[in-house]
């Protein structure tokens, strides 16, 4: 099968174009010579099926960033039959260097000048015919946003693929170093084929930025926008979540329970109480995840993320992070998993790892659900909101302490130099496509983990068969008493310990598991907890729940995003250790003060 590599600088609309060409039917794959996964998709061109690979956006073919090395190694070990090079027409005068670098590799090239519509607004005129003549390669003006100009491009690609690849030059590296040649050729082509007005006309971006990046108004506006975003996600998502939960419960009651009634008790228990209930708990969160990705795609594509990074960078720099890290922390308050995946925008690996170490301390919606339940049971209605607020403060404090302690180990050499794209308002189609791709990726990975996790939890609470489910005689009960010496000093009893083990899989299960352990539900469970625990024990339990590992999905994401088992273990051990230490200091301190 012939291979087409999609190449270009960041912010050229490369991924949008990729999604449009493959119709969203892309898959993630591994390639020889590189360790990161790349998106690829198969498309029909003429009578042949060809594979299109989306390479990371790069500024410079012989740069030193992770992405630039990935692209070089990919091209070296997987010579494509054609390179489809995307340039941003509004920045043609600096993007052409990449094109000329690629041209020197003797590859088969078709060039797309994207954002032709924006260039026109700027008053930039590009004579693509003349440029094509001078560079001796097919060049097309297109608009990824409006989808114009594609038919000609597809024809040109089909035609170009008929001729064999000229082949990669042997001494790639030395050729690439001919910077001076590139510079002079760039100047020559630009002088003849491109006209850029000396002063850019004042546009919407500048008017918006004058307010959005205002020295005093900028930060309050930023927090306001973030607040509205979260409100929007949960306002729209929670009813959907309820409906999905009810729907899945109804399906079980009317169809699955009768259908499985003939099976032996242990098998239907495992299938229904174990796998089905576990998966249903997670499935109910899918609407929120989808909304989350839709909103995130909108914020990211609009160009506001770079502006938020501009506003927050000064404060984050003191913690060894940068402005983008703060945005991810905020996203983590909804759900840690998409926030962890969002760190992909960072180019430096150590910066990314430090940010991913900090994100799991964000008080996500699943943990909020546990805290709301417990504060309602143990505290007066006047004190409950203040207790919740202190937990948010602990969440920030844990993130800050972690960043300050580990910034030496994850020093990033990469400077904070970031391009600020103009505001772009993504079309609905773009948002839906992006959201869908991310959700598909998330689901595939999450389901494997969740199913394994819930099966394990069910087995722990039902073996050996002689013991009553979730009693002290089961494996879970034995683990609870075995861990007694560790959890007793922080005021957490055996039953709560078992709930914490369940919480390792997902915080959504914590309250449900307490219901199973105590054999009570809803208000009755709250009353029982209120009688058994005092507020110091309950707060210590909440502190531990807040700080220790968020859930199996988050761990799986940390593992797959870092591709580093030792780092993943570090995040687990550090959060467990910190959780225990903070709870210990709180519990023993409060007891010493006579509470």
């Amino acid at each position: 099968m012939k291979r087409i590599a999609l190449l270009g600088m960041p912010n050229t609309g490369k991924s949008t174009l990729f999604n449009r060409m493959t119709g969203g039917a892309a898959r993630v794959g591994n390639w020889p010579g590189i360790t990161v996964e790349l998106l690829s998709g198969k498309i029909l061109l003429g009578s042949d099926i060809v594979e299109l690979i989306d390479l990371p956006g790069i500024y410079d073919l012989h740069g030193f960033s992770d992405d630039e090395q990935v692209v070089r190694h990919f091209l070296h070990d997987n010579v494509p039959d054609l390179a489809l090079v995307i340039l941003n027409a509004t920045q043609i005068e600096r993007q052409m260097s990449l094109l000329l670098q690629l041209k020197q590799l003797n590859m088969n090239i078709v060039v797309l000048l994207n954002m032709a519509d924006e260039a026109k607004k700027y008053g930039i005129t590009i004579d693509s015919r003349k440029m094509a003549e001078m560079l001796d390669m097919p060049i097309f003006l297109v608009s990824g946003k409006y989808g114009t100009g594609y038919q000609d491009v597809l024809q040109a690609i089909t035609k170009a693929l008929r001729y064999p690849t000229p082949g990669m030059a042997e001494q790639l590296r030395s050729q690439l170093e001919e910077d001076e040649h590139i510079e002079s050729e760039m100047a020559r082509v630009l002088r003849h084929a491109v006209q850029v007005p000396a002063q850019l006309p004042e546009n919407i971006t500048e008017k918006l930025d004058r307010v959005m990046l205002h020295p005093w108004l900028g930060l309050p506006l930023f927090f306001g926008i973030m607040y509205l975003l979260f409100q929007g996600i949960f306002f729209l998502g929670q009813p959907l979540q309820g409906w999905v939960g009810e729907g899945l419960g109804w399906l079980r009651g009317t169809a699955l329970d009768p259908a499985f009634a003939g099976l032996p008790g242990w098998l239907s228990g495992l299938l229904l109480d174990g796998i089905y209930n576990g998966v249903a708990t997670v499935a109910a969160f899918i609407p929120i995840i989808i909304l989350f990705f839709l909103f995130m795609a909108m914020v990211e594509d609009s160009g506001y993320l770079s502006r938020a990074a501009f506003l927050m960078d000064a404060l984050m720099a003191k913690m060894g992070l940068d402005g983008r890290g703060f945005v991810m922390l905020l996203m983590g308050f909804g759900c840690n998993v998409p926030a962890l995946m969002g760190t992909r925008v960072m180019r430096s690996r150590s910066l990314r790892l430090l940010t991913m170490l900090v994100i799991p301390f964000s008080l996500c919606s699943a943990r909020l659900q546990v805290f709301v339940f417990i504060t309602a049971a143990l505290f007066s209605s006047g004190a409950a909101p203040i207790v919740l607020f202190t937990l948010y403060l602990f969440s920030f404090a844990a993130a800050i302490v972690t960043a300050l302690l580990f910034r030496k180990n994850f020093q990033n050499t990469e400077p904070f130099v970031l391009e600020l794209p103009p505001y772009r308002f993504p079309t609905l189609r773009q948002m839906l496509l992006r959201g869908w791709l991310e959700v598909k990726h998330f689901l595939r990975r999450a389901t494997q983990f969740i199913i394994a996790g819930v099966v394990l939890v069910w087995l722990l609470t039902h073996l050996p068969p002689s013991a009553a489910p979730a009693s002290a005689g089961t494996l879970a009960g034995m683990i609870g008493s075995m861990l007694h010496p560790i959890f007793a000093p922080i005021g957490i009893n055996d039953q709560l310990t078992i709930a914490l083990i369940f919480g390792f899989v997902a915080k959504e299960i914590v309250i449900g598991s307490l219901a199973v352990i105590y054999g009570l539900s809803g208000d009755a469970l709250g009353t029982a907890l209120g009688q058994q625990l005092d507020w110091v024990q309950a707060y210590s339990f909440m502190l531990f729940t807040l700080i220790y590992t968020p859930c199996l999905s988050a761990i799986a994401t940390l593992r797959s995003e870092s591709k580093d088992l030792r780092y993943t273990l570090l995040t687990i051990l550090w959060s467990l250790g910190l959780a225990w230490f903070v709870s210990l200091v709180f519990y023993q301190g409060a007891r010493a003060l006579g509470y």
Binding site: M9, Y59, D60, H62, G63, F64, S65, T90, Q91, E93, R94, S97, L98, Y122, I124, V196, L200, D209, L213, P215, W216, G218, L219, S306, A309, F310, L311, D313, A314, L315, A317, G323, T413, E414, P415, F416, V417, L418, E419, L420, P421, P422
Partner: protein
């Protein structure tokens, strides 16, 4: 007196890049973004709390921290 750098400019001021003194990786990155000696550069705004700068070269807007900007010598035009 130390020579004028990009970090010394005030919002709205335009200058010409004289030289870039940065380690190789940063140098490459800046070059790819259009920083070259002889190019006109405009400081658009500075973030509060000694935060990053927003500059414009040609049609491209770039964010960079002040210590990176201090490595770029300029002369006012």
């Amino acid at each position: 007196m130390s020579p004028l750098t990009l970090a010394h400019l005030n919002p709205g001021e335009t200058a010409t890049i004289v030289s870039i003194r940065a380690e190789e990786a940063l140098h490459q990155r800046l070059q790819a973004l259009g920083f070259r000696s002889g190019k006109q550069i405009e400081l658009i705004r500075k973030a509060s709390f000694s935060g990053p700068l927003q500059v414009r070269i040609g049609t491209t807007d770039i964010l960079l921290r002040r210590n990176e900007a201090a490595k770029i010598k300029v002369c006012k035009s």
